[in-house]
């Protein structure tokens, strides 16, 4: 299988790799996927009080398309309001990165990661729960 130029670019020069402090109240962390399935994405979003995503970081265990999807998503969500970010569909990622049908699940995972990170942020904003970066979040 050959990769699209955009996948290759994100794979070779991934954007926003890294982690934020898990206990930062402005950070929402989403961990989706499972090691035995061959993909785990961790997406962290730094969200301000008006609900705007100021910064993003990712770490991904997975194939090149999974790495590229998460890298692309960190760029995509920056500056967006969480309501806008929640509306991002995996099909946008598929289109932007030219993912072949067998790699669509990577884009689904990236969409899930956004949602998981935002709902994590909401949870501990509401004071309901401490952020739990180490625990896998619900889809």
């Amino acid at each position: 299988m050959s990769y699209s130029d955009k996948v290759l670019d994100h794979y070779n020069n991934p954007r926003n790799v890294g982690s934020f402090a898990k206990d930062d109240p402005n950070v929402g962390t989403g961990v989706v996927g499972a090691p035995e399935c061959g993909d785990v994405m961790k997406l962290q979003l730094k969200i301000n009080d008006s609900g705007v995503i100021e910064d993003a970081r990712f770490k991904t265990f997975g194939c090149g398309s999974a790495i590229a999807s998460s890298s692309y998503v960190t760029e995509l969500v920056k500056g967006k309001h969480i309501d806008e970010a929640m509306a991002i569909k995996n099909t946008l990622i598929v289109k932007e990165l030219n993912l072949p049908p067998v790699k669509i699940h990577c884009s689904v995972l990236a969409e899930d990661a956004i949602k998981a990170a935002i709902s994590d942020w909401k949870k501990h904003k509401d004071g309901a729960e401490e952020p739990q970066a180490a625990r896998a979040q619900e889809k």
Binding site: V17, A34, C37, T60, G64
Partner: protein, 405 residues
């Protein structure tokens, strides 16, 4: 500096040796006869060439020339052996014994027979090194068992099965023993007499011969093994495999066997050294990497390693000037991680992280050093990107995490 891309996937296929190609050339051009043409020199010339190749094949496995049946490849040989025996001996029994890490050519032939109601099949497990226990073979034999099919050496993890012991059990119990020896022939000594093998599949393109040619050894005496053909036609190959012989391919296969047999001891030593160098180069520089397959009973050119916390396909992508293969789901047509690696009972994540290095005749020490460097660098880079590596370093037990996929 080494020349890239580097080919290190010699279990998948091997390049045709230039000496093999030289032997084949005349049979494409001036010596194009049909080996079955009995009444002119073109036919005789082709037949002579086929006879020579038959001897070259027989000699590398210590068989007799007339026991060699040419086929289109080992996939056909495995099909013919398994389906042919089950069909021919159907009045005697219908039970087949094989093992979970066999090649698909064997496993799917067995499954087809099960589906058609022609056989019941026992799939023996393997130990953590991928080896079948001969005792399990013995215990699985019933009075209905007509065939045991166990490969000589595994194509993914390189583990060499205790073939001689299995052969002895098969003899003692008077069950026919088929051995897929595709990865073993020409790489390690194979002897159908000493090993007690009754049927043996081999392939041209795994030993520096051409693709599209294979052979099945069929024992003629002690016992004489009979088969029902799976391809009907002009009755070539003593009726066991009809079809005009692929003379050029057969000539190349023969030449490849002769070269491999002659160079085997020296080449096995050289490849073992190169393999150990690669293994040391990786294990000395990276933590949390695991050898898949048997530590010692292993093909000389094989190294299969899982790099924890790094997904195999992404690693292949990072070392794109090196051709190796991965047990990762993402690289397989079925989107499942390798069934061979999973059969070892290691955790699923490590199956996704496995890489197979297949060293061959044309690899050099410089290439090995280059590959070890390249892989080390890329594994480190990908681990920096891996949430699993981060969690592990934080002391989180990944097994205790509730993943929601």
């Amino acid at each position: 500096m080494v020349k890239t891309p580097i080919y290190m996937d010699n279990h998948a296929t091997t390049p045709c040796d230039p000496r093999v190609l030289d032997a084949m050339m005349p049979y494409f051009t001036t010596k194009f006869g049909n080996a079955a043409s009995r009444n002119h020199s073109f036919g005789w010339e082709a037949e002579e060439a086929v006879d020579k190749a038959r001897n070259q094949l027989a000699s590398i496995i210590n068989a007799k020339a007339k026991e060699i049946i040419f086929t289109s490849g080992a996939t056909e040989s495995d099909n013919l052996a398994i389906k042919g025996v089950v069909e021919f001996y159907k009045d005697k029994g219908n039970h087949v014994i094989t093992c979970v890490t066999e090649h698909k050519a064997v496993l799917d032939s067995c499954r087809a027979l099960e589906r058609q109601g022609k056989a019941t099949v026992t799939y023996l497990p393997v130990d953590k090194h991928g080896m079948v226990d001969p005792d399990d073979v013995r215990k699985a034999i019933t009075d209905k068992t007509v065939l045991i099919s166990i490969m000589y050496a595994n194509n993914e993890i390189g583990t060499i099965h205790p073939i001689r012991e299995i052969g002895r059990i098969a003899k003692e119990k008077e069950v026919i023993f088929h051995c897929d020896a595709v990865q073993a022939v020409g790489k390690i000594p194979v002897d159908v007499e000493k090993d007690g093998i009754d049927l043996l599949a081999m392939s041209g393109h795994k030993i520096y011969g051409p693709k599209g040619v294979g052979a099945l050894y069929v024992r003629s005496k002690g016992p004489r093994v009979r088969l029902t053909p799976i391809i009907d036609g002009g009755g070539h190959e003593r009726g066991m495999r009809s079809g005009t012989l692929n003379v050029t391919g057969i000539v190349g296969f023969g030449a490849a066997c002769e070269i491999a047999a002659k160079e085997l001891p020296e080449e096995a030593r050289r490849l073992t050294e190169l393999r150990n160098r690669l293994q040391a180069g990786l294990f000395e520089r990276l933590d949390e990497i695991y050898l898949n397959g048997h530590p010692t009973e292993r093909l000389p050119g094989n190294l299969n390693v899982s790099f924890a916390y790094v997904e195999g396909e992404s690693l292949l992508m990072g070392i794109n000037d090196v051709a190796v293969s991965s047990g990762s789901a993402c690289t397989s047509a079925t989107l499942e991680p390798s069934y061979v690696i999973r059969a070892l009972g290691i955790n699923e994540e490590l199956a996704h992280s496995s890489i197979r290095f297949g060293l061959g005749r044309f690899n050099t020490a410089d290439e090995v050093d280059y590959v070890a460097d390249r892989v080390t660098r890329e594994v480190k880079r990908l681990r920096e990107m891996s949430p699993l590596y981060e969690m592990a370093k934080e002391g989180i037990d990944l097994k205790s995490v509730q993943w929601k996929a």
